[in-house]
Point group: C2
Chain length 558, copies 2
């Protein structure tokens, strides 16, 4: 069976003018700020005008631990959105924006795949509506203002060794990871060590994605800690007086972006925080706006359910007052086989035993999600090599866990292939059994929160924190940050900190190497492993073959 590539399918899309997509959600063309003919922002004034409407039902799409076989979480998110529309429901999809820089290292990615995609694909991998550029600008302004403050006399008594605010650029540039700035003499300031992260790692990105509105945005920006004094007291972005101008730079970026699926259904693509040092979900404002405009909103979170769903529940939903009505856990027969010990090269051959054995990973995610009080549907994202017996093995296993699994063929067939999944999800939601609650209370100590996630979600024996880390957490509690949720930074490939340990391992600890306070975003990051905040380019970056062809189409980006 010869299939078209994602980009071929995307280029053949029969896109409708974005105003028509807006109309489906009751947004007039005056309230849509177009960016070309197929992208638009929803105006802040319109968003303000719908705040009193009731909310639709929120559905989170998450997945097992990712494997090299691919699970298709975004594909399923898009497919489910189209499936819901196909069965007559008013549904919208909410996903994250892509980062520009990495596309010039490895090839860029589709938003979804096959016949379950969001378009325009090229633009979403390039500048899109400029949101990430706005974040880079706002971040860079604060960077410049900090060094400028020091230059003009350092009235705030910033310890130049303790400036924790790094710079950002939306490009993979390892040469900027660690630098020395302000060289060259008096006119250029006081030399100090510094460095750049990639834009998606900026706390500004996390804040944009968690802020409820522009007032909340400015408040959070002001709360960011940018440096410490010699006495270790914090200096805030507010002290630098950068929060107002940063908000001005971000006012357009705060408006959610509306695009469409291949089937011309509405999709919000907005925000894209790192899924490790941040919470990895699309913006709160996109999700809450979509919930006012659609009866069903399908969204996703980064990585597998142990990281993505956990943060979605404990950080995003808690902070934004959201309550998901159902969770779809995406699994594939191939990924089950890999979790069952099959090598990637051997995935083509039927192996029901390996599928059964790999299902333990899926089972733990189902149990975890249920522990938040939300019902689960498993979507088996169909691959053409899957055999009936293998699919049945997954279904049987899921049934034994008190949930239901539905085979979904959206990649191949679009909404025709996901209508069954959509029907099942609606059925589960209409039972009304969802009773969402985060798995730890605000009042729990930071160390206990970390330990709760490690033991209840990962099933570790304990989270190991040395005295220095415990003292730091205690200090933040004393400063009033004890009520914040924690944001785990850990490999996405395993419940453990060892990416090679697939399945449902037991008998391990989670060592916490470092903790960081994102006082503006509003969480404490617990780093359990190596976290790269500025990627490099590979030996032969994809940029070398990216170009415009004679028709003006982009070649080499995909």
């Amino acid at each position: 069976m010869a299939h078209k590539s994602d980009i071929q399918i995307a280029r053949e899309a029969k896109k409708r003018p974005i105003q028509e997509i807006g109309e489906k959600l009751g947004i007039s063309s005056d309230d849509l700020l177009p960016y070309g003919h197929d992208k638009a922002k929803v105006s802040q004034s319109f968003i303000n005008s719908v705040q009193d409407r009731p909310d639709g039902k929120l559905i989170l799409v998450t997945a097992i631990n990712p494997t090299p076989a691919g699970e298709g979480k975004t594909t399923t998110t898009v497919g489910l959105g189209d499936g819901l529309n196909r069965i007559g429901k008013k549904a919208a999809v909410c996903i994250r924006e892509a980062s520009l820089g990495p596309n010039f290292g490895m090839k860029g990615g589709a938003a979804g795949g096959g016949y379950a995609q969001i378009v325009p694909m090229e633009e979403m991998n390039l500048h899109f509506t400029g949101d990430f550029h706005a974040i880079t600008s706002a971040h860079s302004l604060l960077s410049a203002m900090i060094d400028n403050h020091i230059y003009w006399g350092n009235e705030l008594e910033i310890d130049t060794r303790r400036v924790v605010w790094r710079r950002v650029v939306d490009m993979n540039d390892r040469a900027l990871r660690q630098i020395t700035t302000s060289l060259g003499g008096v006119a250029n300031g006081f030399p100090r060590e510094a460095g750049f992260d990639i834009t998606v790692a900026s706390e500004v990105m996390a804040i944009l994605c968690l802020a409820k509105n522009l007032t909340d945005l400015q408040e959070r920006l002001g709360n960011m800690i940018v440096a410490y004094r010699r006495d270790k007291s914090p200096v805030f972005a507010r002290d630098i007086k950068a929060d107002g101008a940063m908000t001005v730079l971000l006012k357009d970026a705060m408006q959610p972006n509306l695009v469409q699926t291949l089937e011309n259904n509405p999709a919000f693509v907005h925000g894209g925080p790192f899924a490790n040092i941040a919470h990895g979900c699309n913006s709160v404002i996109a999700t809450t706006t979509a919930l006012k405009l659609a009866d069903y909103v399908v969204t996703e979170a980064g990585f597998g359910a142990d990281l993505g769903a956990e943060k979605f529940m404990n950080i995003k939903c808690r902070k934004a007052g959201l309550a998901p009505s159902a969770v779809v856990v995406v699994a594939t027969v191939r990924a089950m086989k890999m979790n069952g010990g099959v090598a990637k090269a051997d995935l083509g051959a039927e192996n029901v035993d390996a599928v059964k054995s790999g299902c333990a990973n899926l089972g733990r995610h189902i149990e975890n999600v249920k522990s938040f009080g939300v019902p689960v549907v498993v979507a088996i994202n169909h691959f053409i090599t899957d055999t009936d017996a293998e699919v049945q093995a997954v279904k049987d296993y899921v049934a034994s866990q008190g949930a239901e699994a539905v085979l979904s063929r959206h990649w191949e067939l679009g909404s025709e292939g996901s209508a069954d999944l959509a029907t099942k999800v609606v059925e589960v939601i209409e039972k009304g059994e969802a009773a969402f609650a985060p798995i730890y209370p605000d009042e729990m100590s930071l160390a206990d929160k970390i330990n709760t996630i490690a033991t209840k979600i990962y099933r570790a024996d304990e989270a190991v924190m040395d005295g220095k880390i415990r003292a730091q957490l205690k200090e933040w509690e004393d400063q009033g940050y004890g009520n914040l949720p924690v944001c785990m930074a850990k490999t996405q490939y395993s419940f453990t900190t060892d990416p090679e340990r697939r399945g449902a391992p037991t008998g391990f600890d989670i060592p916490v190497r470092e903790v960081r306070l994102s006082a503006g975003a509003g969480f404490v990051v617990a780093i359990c492993g190596e976290i790269m905040t500025m990627p490099g380019l590979p030996r032969v970056p994809s940029a070398e073959s990216i170009r415009l062809n004679a028709d003006g189409d982009v070649e080499g980006l995909f």
Copy 2:
């Protein structure tokens, strides 16, 4: 007389949807890529479709050497465009985009002033349509690819001490002027000295503004010299294989931006290269497109006529095959008085003698412009303190120089105040006396080109170049760059290199301190004084008071 501020007037503008503005030029809404409701890009396919049409008449607005009194060059450009439309001509305006970073140091600027402005003013001072962000991205990609090439084995044998490609950011950040990169060990590359300029100083900006189309853009990007080997042979961006991907990043930015004047006439605002280390004109593609769509196109160039008009003629017009039909030199009575030795505090009092004496500066600019074979009209940009006798003194002087001066009151009255100027300009153009030619041929040596500008335009005794500079110029000639025009980098406040010497000085030399090759943009820069390519922020940056007010309007930016 109580006048409203520029921002007050701009906010009261009765803007028409950008599609209506496009219609005035025969651009259908399909061919306009909207950015919100009041900004749009003109599609590349539409631009391609009008290439066989005849060109309208091109009018350059330039000025005397700027003084602290203000001349109002952009204001007059906009006023003349509106005036031409008022007298029944189909006219468009072409000006440059504003740089983001400096707005957070000093307050941002209007495009024009009073009742001769281009809107939307806030957006033009913030992200606008993202062109500068695209330039920053393309520039940053090349930066990352150079260090990545070195990291992975340096096959091109780049001498890391001779990387001439600096990084850029669109922010005033003095701490980044001089830095050391790739610190921190093997994984981060080879430590080297580096630095950041502000985005408008990027050669990518100059190229975007000089490229005729996307093919030409990619060719020029590939031609950029990024480093030298130990044997001093150049390494090009093409060798790094960055030119294709940079072009992809710039494809939207290459499409000119359409906005409107307060009187709803079309204005193209596109590109913004530095007026010293680059040529300081809006993009060639905006100007050539406007000439296909309008009968009269009014544009401007940076600084006074000695720098701006000279580069417009010798670089932009030469390279793009443009031939201006008339030049408007803007002068004010106040500036004439300052040139005549009056202090700024005393400008309010009538002083006809000082006006007469200061006119020498204006006279030299008139003569210079005429030396390019283009007829001159002087626009006296009216200030309410001007007396009839002072205005008459300027008119008499200009008449004695074989040109005509027209009093223009567009700032106060919009097109009603500039209709006389428009009528005069049309009259001069219809005489058909323009016979444009650059003042030096391509074949002249680089040193002689520099000397020609210094002696013929500035009226210096000679351009002084030491042996090292002459040897460098000779080397570039040997490498095939001898046919390039030169781009002078000199203070804009005087014909000399001393900003304090107003009027029409004689008996001075122009010392050339340094020369640089912009092989992609296609000019040799002759630096005659201090050139700052990365500004800093002041002690109290305007950013500290920029914020959104309760109505969502931007406060403190203007």
